[in-house]
Symmetry: C2
Subunit: 389 residues, 2 copies
């Protein structure tokens, strides 16, 4: 067990009708607000009007940047950073899902430097010494960006999708209202839920022993998503289901469960290459990859953790044959993704071609080795991709 | 499910050898540090010397207040508040268990007002508008004071033991090093563990439906204490056991699991009267009370939650007879407290007398009703006390 520093000061307003606190929270950072959002779904659900009304009521100056893409692009980030400079913005308000919040994080950092924002993500890896304060209003339970230090940005010119974590990028305040996810489609609900599950499993399956308490928490979060994702797909306005998915999405990746581990993301970099090459939905890519990754990493040395997963999460009756129990757990997870959630189960069905595997695999491990649960070099990743065909 | 605001910004350094960060953390608040501690056990384990060395290395001015009692008294608080004023203290550093940290919280608040610190706790209930910053170094896993907004102070003159929660009392930074609890005796480990369990059960058994995710977390924390408390008693230097108990103690009561509930403490006020009248160890009083309180509150309307507890925490095989399953859970909890942890099981054995029940019961509910899991008026509390004889 390693030492860690727990430091997650994001303040969260959880529940319905909490927007009355928005003006007060924004005002503590200054007068000029840059509101960022995506394709306009926030207008359809009335959230845009409600947000603008609160900003006006608080006497703040409003600037807007819309059109942030899924798999958000560096061009949007550049535009936002420039707007912050042009209008001397004090605080950024991201209203949307992980894409909008991620892009906003790098706008906030880009606003504080003279160089191009891509320099934070390219091999230059420019230091993030400061970022403008970020407030978020979440509309999709998935990435956990509302309460974490990470953001992932795509560069279509270089076919790169790169993530970075930095304490400066952590939202100061987030508004989590489950009703803002009522209109999320069954398909997006499924993808978001797969994303949450993947976040947890990438930490759960780890070389190092966990704090047992955190293992229990992870198993609890997995059971929560497995219980409520199908409910939310069937009954989009089920508050209990949406609330459980929402709060779980935040805690799956805010840093709490990784405490004390040397943790290396495995499925996520493999998936980022899928999205970078094919622009597919992140959660869908993860759903296809995760059970194969688990299968590839399973061996005698790791089997006990798989047995724990199968029994504690899926209630599999443990048998003498540990390998069989372990495989049963993987099988039930795959069944959950591809039958219960109805997600496509292989690369062929989503149009991903084997000819790109070598290049995607090379990029996923940056030409080296991902030192995760099982070390993965390019050849390993190619094999996992092949298992997904 | 109710709305809530999640706001727990305490930064935690968890693990061994993290004291190198102490000077830096204290310095952000100023130059003059008041170090508070109890009976001197921190000198025996070498922690005092290590702390003083770090403070000197950082070039800070050190003032000291020792002798803070278990069930800390208002006199100590008054003394500390006065020292803060006399020496123009910038930050308080509490080194110890919940008693030391609790007392330090009200010193920090008392330092910022002209009136007596008891006014915060007496019926005057003076507002806590400001407190000096508090840093803590924990040496006992029990109360969770290291990461929560609460503190409980005794006044022997008035035989009162009163708690209060206030955001201003939250420690800014806490150091949680499991090795600092290696010398905690088996008895104190048992009492601390009973305290943690009681904190969780008082939230778990609640009129309102929880977020399922939080139910899973609570069950995980209960299983963690049940698994590791006996290990820590048998092997006091078992790092894994001490680490699990330590991190669980913080999360049992930092506000995370109460999110979304109207929550009223029930066992705690009943216990506070035991400590106020008899100065017994808080965790011991809770261990005696908790199973009786659970038994008293059990009825047809609440039985399902008890069944959930029995099956998910103790692995009881659910039977057709829900009441029997529910009672089995209570029985196993009592067995854990009184056999596994070896705590005394009744009031008679610890010298608490029936003649004080009416007065203690009246004070516990402040002459009204505790609106918790089951509303408890004076007569109900007297009955629960009688069940403890």
């Amino acid at each position: 067990m390693n030492n860690f520093v727990y430091d997650i000061p994001t303040k969260v307003y959880f529940g319905e009708n909490q927007l009355g606190n928005l003006g007060k929270e924004l005002s503590q950072f200054g007068k000029r607000v840059l509101l960022t959002y995506g394709g306009g779904s926030i207008k359809k659900i009335g959230l845009y009007d409600a947000v603008v009304a609160e900003i006006k009521k608080a006497g703040l100056e409003l600037y807007e940047l819309s059109g942030i893409e899924p798999n958000p692009r560096i061009d949007s980030v550049r535009k936002g950073a420039q707007m912050c400079k042009d209008h001397n913005i004090d605080v950024l308000l991201a209203v949307g899902g992980g894409s909008t919040i991620d892009a906003t994080k790098f706008m906030a950092a880009g606003a504080c430097v003279d160089h191009d924002a891509w320099d934070f993500l390219s091999e230059k890896w420019a230091p993030i010494e400061k970022a403008l304060p970020i407030v978020s209003i979440l509309t999709l339970s998935a990435t956990g960006s509302e309460m974490d230090t990470a953001a992932v940005i795509s560069n279509l010119e270089t076919t790169e999708k790169i993530g970075r974590m930095d304490r400066e990028l952590l939202p100061r305040v987030s508004f989590l209202d489950p009703t803002n996810t009522f209109t999320v489609s069954p398909y997006q609900t499924a993808c978001g839920s797969a994303d949450i599950i993947s976040h947890i499993l990438e930490v759960y399956f780890n070389e190092e022993n966990d704090l047992y308490m955190l293992d229990c928490f992870m198993e609890g979060m997995l059971k929560t998503v497995i219980k409520y994702a199908p409910v939310a797909m069937r009954e989009p306005e089920n508050y209990e289901a949406r609330a459980n998915l929402m709060w779980t999405s935040s805690w799956a990746i805010n840093g709490f469960i990784t405490a004390g581990k040397r943790h290396a993301w495995s499925c996520h970099p493999m998936e980022h290459e899928l999205s970078a090459f094919y622009d597919i939905t992140h959660g869908l890519g993860l759903a296809i990859l995760t059970p194969r990754w688990m299968e590839y990493c399973l061996d005698e040395s790791s089997v006990d953790k798989y047995v724990q997963f199968a029994t504690n999460v899926f209630g599999v009756e443990p048998s003498q044959d540990k390998m069989a129990t372990a495989k049963k757990g993987i099988e039930l997870l795959a069944k959950f993704f591809f039958e219960t959630l109805g997600l496509k189960s292989n690369f062929t069905d989503v149009g991903i071609k084997a000819e790109d595997f070598p290049e995607m695999a090379r990029k996923a491990c940056c030409g080296g080795v991902i030192k995760g649960f099982k070390p993965l070099a390019q050849a390993d990743i190619e094999k996992i991709y092949e298992m997904c065909l």
